[in-house]
């Protein structure tokens, strides 16, 4: 039964100046016992808390506890000319927190998420069960741009 169809990812959103595209981020692990500077991203490794990181892609990581959680996330890239306005609509993350190489966990439209800076936008990791709701929110937010 190996050909279990990968759960259909939500289709993207293309508003005026806003693009939301699902990302097949590969395998993802939650790893405890790994230290790294707070709120930084290095080589697919995202800081979550002291001694806890999210590892995206690459080989199976080492750590005190390693849990594969790729299925627990939907990864979305939010870009387009006015992505900053979507971020401003969704939460109060300080601008400086999302320079490339930085990441932050924050409330985005009331939903707790991991966000990483990319050139031309942000990559968000949202809990799968909340992804449908978030996409509804993003769809509506995108209609606010003329």
């Amino acid at each position: 039964m190996a050909e279990m169809a990968a759960a259909g990812l939500a289709e993207g959103i293309a508003g005026a100046g806003v693009r939301v595209t699902p990302v097949e981020a590969g395998r993802i692990w939650l790893v405890s016992g790994v230290e790294m500077p707070a709120n930084t991203v290095a080589g697919g490794q995202y800081w979550l808390a002291p001694g806890r990181v999210l590892v995206v892609g690459g080989a199976v990581p080492e750590g005190a506890l390693v849990s594969e959680v790729g299925d627990g996330f939907v990864v979305l890239d939010i870009g387009g000319a006015r992505w900053r306005e979507i971020l401003a609509m969704a939460g109060t993350l300080p601008a400086g927190a999302l320079e490339p190489g930085m990441c932050a966990q924050t409330l985005f439209a009331g939903v707790r998420m991991l966000i990483a800076g990319r050139d031309g936008g942000i990559r968000v990791f949202v809990e799968r069960p909340l992804s449908a709701w978030l996409l509804d929110w993003l769809r509506q937010a995108a209609t606010s741009f003329v």
Binding site: L65, G70, A88, A141, F145
Partner: protein, 963 residues
């Protein structure tokens, strides 16, 4: 027509037709509703709240107390719009409010004839018998202004959260100078002003800055600011903790379906408050007639809107600012007489100035016709002057609202006759008229200095020189005059709420002498304009009436919002489905495809029951429950929490966290455990699995997963930091399906998996990891239905496919939802947290006492289980409640009664398909000691009877788990 042939910042090429009280009128683009009404010679635009006296336009902006109108345009409707703030748009339908048949001829105007008998607060002195209720309906019908339309407003509201280095509040001379300076230092500047164009009052008052016409200078200065966020038509309505601000923008570019209001939530490192000041009315007998307007407003109507509100004008003032209005009126062709309350009023060319004179009376029902002037001190030399416009100026009150909201202090200044800002909050810099009476030069200087100070506080240097303006003659000081000392106390202080000098005298006489008592007893300053024109005059009058200094009386509290803000804008996008997030299970689409009725349980949308064609929910529940007992059922448990706990100290740590002993749990085994709060109350229950010596998997209930995770982290980080234990919430990563029923083993056996599910290898309450249908997963023998049960977990991405696969493994698989599960667990007497238990339930109340006796180590909540109350014999205990009539299902929430007193309640009840009768569970005082007793069950006045029994009604020995 009162429109001037030329001038004004209106667009004469774009006439805009609109409706006023059913009549077709027209104005121009750039008009407000107020300026358009004035241009069409409309005098009466409303009625005052209490006496229903005729009201005309008084102000030109946020100070307007009278011009409350009903405005409708397409989907937008505002029952309490202020005409001076609403830009005119083509097709607007505008009407007066709170008057019948119309504002011009309002039957309720008769009330004014009885004003002697209905002073401030009269309703506290009467309407007591038979009761207030007997009068209330009629009084409520007369109160209130506009009529709200019952249809929901479908517009979408936008919100923006931003940070900025420097927030400049106010785009007048001082604000533009400050923003210009700060921007030149390379700082992020946000400049907000509630008008459409920059320069604020400069448009009306003019002047020369850096050699340019003042308003043009402002526009140019703003244009040159690099990297600034310019928010025109935006009011900073509130200052909150830690330099947070609420802003309301009235956008013109809103996308289809989106409202024009947008709320900005701004965090600023430095703040420049340049909010200017508001002109106060003069207080004199009969000062509330239509055609009596603020002098500063008249200047704006003449200069900005090219509207001449009157041709025969009397100006009554106690300060120099009104002379600019006089000059503008003369230039527009009006005849002007000035009554200056100050004895040595300066003579002005072409103006008849009567020094030391004040108004002492007026006439004209639907518009002022004449004003009586008299010498202020002796009230002699009375002279009646005909006029169709009386422009009044009682001095200026700095707009210190935001400064005060943020904790800045105020001090009374006699010379300025105003409350001026005292100590500002750290990081705040005040400039312009908000600091007190300032000329254009001083305002520009202060603004520039504020920009320099803000930049310096952020370690930056300003790179522009301060703007220059030719010096102007210094204005003569104000001659403060708070009211006219005559017997006629009908001198209006709050035009909208009809609060007069006589009311202030009454409040003082009855000892409502605190400024807060004055406000609440007379409703002074409680109308739509929130006292912008009335507060200071009221305070000054109260001071005079109680023999105190104005500074000693003090002010009431400045509260957000500065202008009323639409509730929809404050709610933003949190509306309808987007009001609050909800979690979906991976197989959601499949459930719906199979007739599932989805409901929200603990923040998740889950199948309540699966309806066949024409089946009711109740019938589906009974069918599902019966088929699980007889055959095999499939249930989606994906929302159950999954928290991995690992580390050398995992066992020791969890042993403190849980009520039950978990350190001795063997690898590959499960145990049903309770988690308590420190108060001993049962917080959550769930199965604990030990997957390895140093690795556990907790499954808290769906609604408590976040709470349990927070509790684990709180205790580890604050109480046991040395313990080596980590937690991973992997709930969303796994889909979990329960297969339950006598033939569950057969079905699960058909899965291709390396996990041995034989009873030897996998007995009840055991778990094994392995590969299932090529996927990494787990199978656990656990049952909440009382039947043989398997929980199959696979990665969530494959959840829907696995669910379909399981369904296809046999023809007799029945889908069952949460409601059927609730029936099955009720038959077994298993508790449901939050249904059978509540915020007072201790473990012993549920009959779970072994851990307290046997567990050696201290655990969370243990000491609370030994308090006198915890050991009370008559505590409510969890028992079965078997209705005497097997066909009657007692309502959940019925109470067990002993001689009229409640001794507990039914927490669960349903028809049990397995037993063919109704069953129930409850929490009953001393319940376990009442086994076999018949009790009265009370519900909404009717009583039935039921026998108290064991909680478990079916297969008490639990053979079906292993059979």
């Amino acid at each position: 027509m009162r429109r001037l042939a030329a001038g004004g910042a209106i667009d004469r090429t774009r006439p805009l037709g609109f409706i006023w009280e059913g009549r077709k009128l027209s104005g121009f683009a750039g008009d407000t509703i107020a300026s358009a009404l004035l241009a069409n010679g409309i005098g009466v635009i409303g009625r005052s709240f209490k006496y229903h006296r005729p009201r005309g336009v008084y102000g030109a902006w946020t100070e307007e107390p009278n011009a409350i109108v009903d405005v409708a345009l397409g989907a937008r409707h505002d029952p309490n719009a202020r005409a001076s703030l609403v830009p005119l748009e083509a097709g607007m339908v505008v009407g007066g409010v709170n008057a019948w048949p119309n504002v011009r001829r309002d039957a309720l105007g008769l009330i004014d004839l009885f004003h002697r008998f209905i002073p401030a607060g009269f309703y506290y002195k009467t309407f007591k018998s038979p009761s207030w209720g007997a009068f209330e309906t009629r009084i409520r019908a007369m109160a209130g202004l506009g009529v709200m339309r019952p249809e929901p407003d479908r517009l979408l509201y936008d919100t923006r959260h931003v940070e900025t280095d420097v927030l400049v509040v106010g785009g007048g001379a001082a604000g533009v100078a400050a923003a210009r300076a700060a921007a030149s230092a390379g700082l992020g500047v946000m400049l907000a002003d509630d008008r459409a164009a920059w320069g604020g009052v400069l448009q009306a008052e003019g002047g020369v800055i850096d050699g340019m016409e003042a308003a043009a200078w402002a526009a140019a200065a703003v244009g040159e600011m690099r990297g600034a966020t310019l928010l025109g038509r935006t009011t900073v309505f509130g200052a909150y903790d830690h330099n947070a601000f609420g802003l309301l923008e009235q956008r013109r570019d809103a996308a289809g379906g989106w409202a024009e209001e947008r709320v900005w939530l701004v965090r600023a490192r430095q703040v420049v408050l340049a909010a200017g000041a508001i002109e106060r009315p003069l207080v004199f007998p009969g000062n509330d007639r239509p055609g009596i307007m603020s002098a500063a407003a008249v200047l704006q109507y003449v200069r900005h809107y090219a509207v001449l509100p009157g041709r025969e004008v009397v100006i009554a003032t106690n300060n120099d600012t009104a002379y600019a209005t006089a000059a503008a009126l003369v230039a527009a062709g009006a005849s002007v007489t000035v009554a200056d309350a100050r004895p040595e009023a300066p003579g002005r060319d072409g103006l008849r100035v009567r020094a030391g004179c004040v108004p002492v009376g007026t006439g004209g029902r639907h518009g002022v016709k004449w004003v009586d002037l008299a010498l202020r001190d002796a009230l002699s030399n009375r002279e009646r002057v005909r006029c169709d416009l009386l422009a009044i100026s009682g001095g200026w009150s700095p707009s210190v609202h935001l400064h005060s909201q943020a904790g800045g202090t105020l001090r009374w200044d006699d010379a300025a006759a105003a409350f001026l800002p005292g100590v500002a909050r750290e990081g705040w810099h005040l400039a312009g008229a908000v600091t007190g009476p300032v000329g254009l030069g001083a305002a520009l200087g202060q603004g520039h200095a504020a920009g320099v100070a803000a930049a310096a506080a952020l370690g930056r240097v300003v790179h522009v020189a301060p703007p220059e303006t030719p010096a102007r003659a210094v204005e003569a000081p104000i001659g403060a005059m708070w009211f006219v000392d005559v017997a006629d106390r009908r001198q209006w202080i709050d035009f909208q709420n009809d609060v007069t000098l006589g009311d202030v005298a009454l409040a003082a006489r009855e000892n409502y002498a605190s400024v807060e008592h004055l406000k609440r007893y007379t409703t002074l300053g409680m109308a739509n304009d929130q006292g912008k024109t009335s507060n200071i005059n009221g305070i000054a009058a109260l001071a005079a009436m109680t023999g105190r200094a104005i500074g000693e009386v003090g002010t009431t509290t400045f509260r957000p919002p500065y202008v009323p803000v639409s509730l929809g804008a404050l709610a933003g996008m949190r509306h309808g489905r987007l009001f609050a997030p909800i979690r979906e299970v991976p197989a959601a689409a499949d459930h719906l495809a199979n007739g599932a009725v989805m409901r929200e349980y603990g923040g998740w949308r889950r199948p309540a029951a699966y309806l066949r064609i024409g089946e009711t929910v109740a019938a589906a529940i009974a069918r599902e429950a019966a088929s699980v007992r007889q055959g095999v059922g499939l249930f989606d448990g994906s929302s159950l929490g999954k928290i991995e706990v690992a580390g050398p100290d995992a066992a020791a740590f969890l042993n403190v966290m849980f009520y039950n002993e978990v350190a001795n749990l063997k690898v590959g085994r499960l145990r049903y455990c309770l988690m308590l709060r420190e108060t001993g109350v049962v917080f959550d229950d769930g199965v604990v699995a030990r997957l390895a010596a140093e690795r556990y998997l907790l499954s808290p209930s769906s609604s408590h997963t976040e709470g349990v995770l927070a509790m684990l982290r709180a205790w580890q980080q604050t109480e046991f930091p040395a313990m080596r234990v980590v937690f991973h919430d992997v709930t969303a990563a796994w889909a979990t399906f329960a297969v339950s029923g006598p033939r569950a083993g057969v079905l699960v056996g058909r899965l291709s998996s390396d996990i041995d599910i034989g009873d030897g290898a996998l007995p009840h309450m055991a778990v094994a990891e392995g590969v299932i249908e090529g996927l990494p997963g787990r199978i656990a023998r656990v049952s909440f239905t009382g039947e043989r049960g398997y929980e199959i977990s696979v990665p969530a991405r494959h959840g829907a496919a696995m669910w379909r696969h399981l369904l296809g493994l046999g023809e007799d698989v029945t889908l069952y939802g949460i409601e059927a599960l609730s029936v099955l667990r009720a038959e077994k007497g298993f508790i449901l947290i939050g249904t059978d238990t509540d915020g007072m339930t201790l473990p012993a109340d549920l009959g779970i006492t072994a851990p307290l006796r046997n567990k050696a180590v201290d655990f969370v909540g243990k000491r609370s289980l030994l308090t006198p109350d915890a050991l009370r014999a008559d505590r409510r205990q969890f028992v079965g409640v078997l209705p005497e009539d097997p066909g009657f299902v007692p309502a959940v929430g019925s109470h067990a009664m002993v001689d009229g007193r409640s001794v507990g309640w039914v927490t669960t009840s349903c028809h049990s398909p397995a037993l063919g009768r109704s069953i129930g569970l409850g929490m009953i005082e001393g319940g376990r000691g009442r086994i076999g007793e018949t009790m009265e069950i009370f519900h909404l006045g009717k009583t039935s009877r039921a026998v108290i029994g064991e909680a478990c009604h079916f297969d008490r020995a639990g053979e079906r788990l292993h059979g």
